[in-house]
Amino acid sequence: MKPAVLTGAHFMTGDVACAEGALAAGCRFFGGYPITPATEIAEHISGRLPQVGGTFIQMEDEIAAMASIVGASCAGVKSMTATSGPGLSLMLENIGLAVCTETPCVVVNVQRAGPSTGLPTLGAQGDMMQARWGSHGHYEIIALAPASPQEIFYQTIEAFNLSETYRVPVLIMTDEMIGHLSERVVIPEAKAIHTVSRPKARGRKDRFKPFAPGPNGVAPMAIAGEGYHIHVTGLTHDERGYPDMTVEGQEVMMSRIVGKIRNNLKDIIRTDSYLLDDAEIVIVSYGVSSRTSLAAVDEARAQGIKAGLFRLITVWPFPEEEIRKLAARVKGFVTVELNLGQIHLEVERSAGGLAPCVLVGHAGGTIITPDRVLKTLKEAF
């Protein structure tokens, strides 16, 4: 029987590293449904969870998988699911339920090329806007984009920590290339892993208001069976959790669930940079595309072009302030992504006309080569 934290150096795929990251974060419930290229996460964790006191269930579809993890989280257990495009499409309604009821959970999307069944076995980054806006209504959500198996391990822990801190679903928007890539993954000792659990309900049970916010805008969470007799609904609700079908009720609830993210951007957003300090041309990228962008930066520098990389680790909320600051001093931005222009639009919006923005995009199925990035960069600037 293996421990929950597999301390040591391993050679593993991104998918397996994701499952191990979840276990290290304290995930003890996984509701899944098989889909390439995410299946290996479910396969791996299905064997591991029952050994560490957790539960795995393969549900009848992704709608059920998502509903089951929201339910499990309401019972107080850190929960996760993993899927790819078609499955994410089915999960969206209950992702909205988790947003509205402020139920922590982690959803992994190992992206493949779409639309529809698309290219099931080949990677893409075409669901970035779906992650942001896919469920109906206006909301804020957190999405991360790891660029290696080692990073997926840590970001999965981070995803749980953010999800528990802010009581919001967190998406891990990886891609087939990273999911299926085998690399060295070093897992530290359990005591060196920082894990966070949701703020707990306290105080008099008869007076507890399940949606009354704490200092960072997040309400302590009562879980089923603790005796708080909470009511939780996807209808617009007040601090007691009771339906409030008024315009004012909507405004109060929305400003809180949106505000808890918008007012904590500094704590949430993580980015990475390479040779950015003196860069005149900034490549913005994430996930697998940031790896090929890195090679493009080196090649550009070798040719005397001052290029640098701004890598998104948090994709949502988008680091617009950082982009705006860069826009004031650089010649331009090149966004590299495996779609036909999604994060590119965000970069353009955030640059606010201060610097030109170009896209190196691709509809998916293969990576974007450093040559293409370099060529566009030279042509544009």
């Binding site: 029987m1 003890r28 419930f29 509701g31 029952p50 050994q51 006191g53 539960t55 795995f56 269930i57 549900m59 009848e60 579809d61 709608i63 059920a64 998988a65 509903a67 089951s68 993890i69 929201v70 339910g71 499990a72 989280s73 309401c74 019972a75 107080g76 257990v77 929960s79 309604e93 209950n94 339920l97 009821t101 009562a222 089923a224 069976g225 603790e226 005796g227 708080y228 007799h229 909470i230 009511h231 939780v232 609904t233 996807g234 209808l235 009771y242 339906p243």
Partner: protein
Amino acid sequence: MTPTNKSINHPLDDLLRTDRIPHIWCPGCGIGTAFAACLTAMKASGIDLEKTVMVSGIGCSGRGAGYVMLDSYHTTHGRAIPFATGLKLANPELNVVVFSGDGDLFAIGGNHFIHGARRNVDITVVCVNNLNYGMTGGQVAATTPLGAKTTTTPVGNPDGPFNLPLMAYAAGASYVSRWTILHTRDMTESIKDALLNRGFAFVEVLSPCPVNFGRRNKEKALDSLRLYQEKTIIKNDAHPSELDIDFERGVTLGKFVDIERPTCIDRYDATCRPPEMLEEEKAA
């Protein structure tokens, strides 16, 4: 209406969110009777109410979760059962009761119902079957009788309805019964049995929706009750294949399945958990 007068106590007040009364249900609606039976059964069963959770989907019946003074979850349309499955598997100590409508549980949520029954998840499902989609204004449901008028079958339903107990039985439910809201005592007893059954327990409750179904089918609330009285027969252990709902020929009520078989959690523990872990748990 003004909120409940606190000086008048109802025997179920301790289980009701009295600060949410008046409820949304129409005069003549049967949901309240089914709901009250469910609460009475919960009390009578002796289960630990602090560890009891109600889960509903969306619909008039799905508002049940909003009125019970227990941990209660009003989820998405059709998804109460997979949500309840997650709750139960994450904390097996919880008693999980799903209270929802026929459209919710058998049209949009039909697939989840059969899989919940197949796995024998240890939850209790109470379905208020009012033969239509009440909340959205009376559209055809998967339970609407052949020929019945609804807002989306203005000249009559061309399709026939599901036999819900047959489906529950075929999918593997460990407890299956059907009552009407007129049979309050039997219904309450039956929900109590269902709560005490270890496994996937299903109780269908026939209930009038005078406002949306009755009105279009020349059936006033009292007419429905009369049908429940005159056109039903109680036949415990009737074979589930004989349970089609046809008020012309008569509708069979009763308890049709009451067995014990290993639950989803029993099987998972026995199959997937390392034996030493189970022994540790037993010792603890």
